[in-house]
Symmetry: C2
Subunit: 146 residues, 2 copies
């Protein structure tokens, strides 16, 4: 395997463009590319996600943390209870068991690198009770998309 | 600690710009910023390195791998025995115990994200014998800077 793989914009040589998640309908217009991981014998994965204009990732939480570097476009992010706009090259840290969601703006995609351990727990989606608690904050209620 | 830290170009809010290495003279004009790591309770570190125009990192090897995403400028990289030019957003995988060096071009800086485990071995520099073996390849002999 060659040490260097070309990146042309935000597409990479030898890297498949995947659906964000195969078994989940709670997102919209998101792709995933795995840039580094098990194929290189590494204990972590570096993924590139791209949320199309108007799209969003799943509202979820899990025990594993995320370390994110925004590299393309504009969007907003919920890292509960914070809601922030993001542009390149903002850093987003999602601590364990923290509700989070990434949203692109209406007219631009949002692209970001996201680092996780290979061994990680499955994301949890909010129950009705969780949603009630989240929506008690009007800013969060306005933000979340399901 | 806030979940989002602003990046303005290639400088980040709350992140110190450090010397590449404090106790090593075998590099030239390189800075380091630790974007994620122990401060966020993570088992890996994501660093941003910037090699100024005409500069280079240390020629070295070590047991821990590197996963690199080029994000700024132009340069060349040795991942022995390969020598390649790199531009954004090329991916560079440095396997364990592989001699490597990053060099900026004469007129542009080279900036890259580099991912490592927090627990890692110290880099090893080449002995005279190692250098003799490396220089047996004329392309490598032309490339390496000490």
């Amino acid at each position: 395997m060659t040490a260097v793989r070309r990146g042309a914009g935000f597409l990479w040589e030898g890297v498949d463009v995947l659906e964000y998640k195969a078994f989940d309908e709670a997102y919209r217009d998101v792709t995933r590319q795995v840039l580094f991981g098990a194929a290189q014998g590494l204990p972590w994965e570096l993924r590139y996600f791209e949320v199309a204009a108007g799209g969003h990732t799943t509202l979820e939480r899990h025990a594993h943390p995320h370390a994110v570097v925004v590299v393309r476009g504009r969007g907003r992010v919920l890292v509960h209870p914070e809601i922030r706009t993001v542009t390149p090259h903002d850093l987003v840290h999602v601590p364990p068991m923290t509700w989070h969601q990434f949203q692109a703006t209406r007219d631009e995609p949002l692209g970001f690198l996201c680092l996780v351990g290979i061994e990680r727990d499955r994301p949890i989606r909010p129950t009705e009770e969780d949603l009630g608690a989240l929506r008690a904050d009007p800013k969060v209620a306005e933000f979340v998309r399901l």
